[in-house]
């Protein structure tokens, strides 16, 4: 039975689709932000594997078709980016500078943490892309020799944390401007945070969405330069 589930061509993909829908349903029913569908699906997936005694390597192999779609899906992030750039062209320079400041803060503080805890290169680059969107972050981690699976977990948890803390952090930092709020949410907690930004208002949501792609690209560039510091 374990062998059947480990090798079945459609079980892994079906399980992922089912888990995500179950997670989305749970979120809608309870309205609790920490029950993010992706977080719930990952936890549920771990549960299913432990229950059926399927090891995660064969599950990942069976789910290969999903990974294959990741590159074209990431390429398509250009579509929302293009839609949003037209909306906020007026603030282009301030936006870019703000996002760049956030990316610099992220990379420098991860560097400091890596130095304090005397982490090796693999550990450092695993945490480096933690604030950017999963699609880009997991590839940055892989390219630099990090542990991709841990990067994904850390990115998702960062997103959920940003989603939950967006409102209190806006008050703490006295962010009243919707454009500044959008930059803060999108740069610090990517797509999962953006879900919260969209609930605030349209401008915050659009700017947050735009910040996902821009901070992702800036982080790729910075990681190419600073990835070898540790």
């Amino acid at each position: 039975m374990t062998e059947f589930f480990g090798n079945a061509a459609y079980f892994a993909v079906l399980a992922c689709l089912g888990l995500y829908q179950a997670g989305a349903w749970l979120k809608k029913k309870t309205g609790l932000a920490f029950l993010n569908p992706l977080l719930v699906s990952i936890a549920g997936g771990v549960g299913v594997l432990l229950l059926l005694r399927v090891d995660s390597t064969s599950f990942a192999r069976a789910a290969q078709p999903l990974s294959w779609l990741l590159t074209p899906a990431t390429v398509c992030l250009a579509i929302p980016l293009y839609r949003q750039v037209r909306l906020v062209r007026k603030y282009a320079l301030s936006l870019l500078a703000g996002i760049a400041a956030g990316v610099a803060a992220s990379i420098l503080s991860v560097l400091v943490i890596a130095l304090i805890f005397e982490m090796d290169h693999a550990g450092y680059v695993t945490l480096l892309p933690k604030s950017i969107t999963t699609a880009i972050g997991m590839v940055v981690s892989r390219e630099q020799g990090g542990v991709e699976n841990i990067t994904v977990a850390v990115i998702v948890l960062t997103g959920v944390f940003g989603n939950l803390m967006a409102s209190p952090l806006c008050r703490l930092f006295r962010l009243t401007d919707p454009v500044a709020r959008g930059v803060a949410i999108g740069t610090s907690s990517h797509a999962i945070g953006t879900a919260r930004a969209m609930e605030m208002d349209d401008v915050t949501g659009a700017v947050s969405g735009l910040s996902i792609a821009v901070s992702g690209v800036l982080t790729v560039a910075a990681a190419a330069i600073l990835g070898n510091l540790v």
Binding site: T74, A135, I185
Partner: protein
């Protein structure tokens, strides 16, 4: 034929990204090159309708594509345990810091811009 054409076009940009990735010796993922090329094509006048429907579908299913990698954390529990504290600090402290720095910088810059715009009128 609509979806076939759109999906074909998206795969073309993915492939161009792959080609650039092979040509340029930098640790930049193929998807980033593809995304930049698609953005430039749209900015240069390619209609959104040429990729929009299939693109929105792919973006909708994107979170599902991360589940296998996320579940894979089960296989590297040992490595995660070794870096648990720095990882927790990154998720909490660094996220707050990035939030504050990017938000405050943007707000200050926009206010300055508006002030200048106001003086101009």
């Amino acid at each position: 034929m609509k979806y076939l054409r759109q999906f074909g076009l998206i795969l073309l940009f993915s492939f161009l990204g792959e080609a650039l990735r092979a040509l340029i010796p930098l640790p930049v993922p193929a998807s980033i090159y593809g995304m930049a090329l698609l953005f430039l094509a749209l900015a240069a006048g390619m209609p959104l309708s040429a990729v929009e429907d299939t693109g929105d579908f792919l973006i909708e299913i994107m979170p599902v594509l991360f589940i296998p990698a996320g579940v894979g954390v089960l296989g590297c529990w040992g490595e995660l345990k070794a870096m648990l504290l720095p990882a927790v600090l990154c998720v909490t402290l660094v996220t707050c810091l990035v939030f504050g720095v990017s938000g405050c910088a943007t707000q200050a810059l926009i206010r300055r811009e508006r002030l200048r715009g106001g003086n101009g009128k």
